[in-house]
């Protein structure tokens, strides 16, 4: 079953704190795990992504940790800022067909609403 479970549904973190959002997947065929950030009334924006052969990826204040054996991955936002307040979606995908001509099915988690208090 192509399902991605995301938790928590909502999260309140104080400014400067660490925000942690967790996701778990079932389909071991997934080979790419992106995170999206969405502000109210806007489309989701790709934030950071990881492949299953890597255990961690860091870009600025954002880090993905990946545990292949547990089929879990998480997003850590260090030094959280009020401007980080948004909804975050994890996703998992695998490529049908060849890299250049196939399509990828993105399976999304249900999202986490993050509020960073000043």
């Amino acid at each position: 079953q192509q399902q991605v479970k995301q938790s928590p549904q909502s999260l309140i973190v104080q400014k400067g704190g660490i925000s942690i959002i967790n996701c778990a997947y079932e389909n071991t065929a997934f080979d790419y795990f992106p995170w999206y950030q969405q502000f109210p009334g806007k489309g989701p924006a790709l934030l950071i992504a990881i492949r299953p052969d890597v255990s961690e990826k860091k870009e600025g204040r954002f880090t993905i940790s990946f545990n292949k054996s547990a089929k879990q991955f998480s997003l850590h936002i260090m030094d959280s800022q009020p401007g980080d307040s948004a909804t975050y979606f994890c996703a998992a995908t695998f490529q049908w067909g060849s890299v250049n001509s196939g399509y990828s099915t993105l399976t999304f988690g249900k999202g986490t609403m993050l509020l960073v208090s000043p």
């Binding site: 790419y32 999206y36 790709l46 995908t93 990828s104």
Partner: protein, 110 residues
């Protein structure tokens, strides 16, 4: 990188009226294109995807249809809107694994 354009940004339509939402892509050729619907505040549901002109696949049975008349144009349509069609509609284009989203169209069916 590709840019996804959508219009209109917002739309209020009465029940039973037709619908046409447009998505265009720039910055790439022969992209895979996707239509999603997002219910109030939350998750994204894949409605249609297209791997080329005239090639449309539907993920869920519904009151909507999609067409791809040109390589970089993807249209979402309905002949008669239902109240349940209200939502935030997002178009996305694919570059290898990554999908990039447009700004969305907020549709309210009254």
């Amino acid at each position: 990188s590709q840019t996804i354009h959508q219009w209109p940004a917002t739309l209020v339509q009465p029940v039973g009226s037709p619908l046409s939402l447009e998505c265009t892509v720039e910055g790439t050729s022969n992209p895979n294109l996707y239509w999603y619907r997002q219910a109030a505040g939350r998750g994204l549901q894949l409605l249609f995807y297209s791997v080329g002109i005239g090639q449309i696949s539907s993920e869920v049975p519904q009151n909507l249809s999609a067409s791809r008349p040109q390589d970089r144009q993807f249209i979402l349509s309905s002949k008669k809107l239902l109240l349940s069609d209200s939502g935030f509609y997002l178009c996305a284009g694919q570059t290898v694994h990554e999908q990039y989203f447009g700004p969305g169209t907020r549709l309210t069916v009254t």
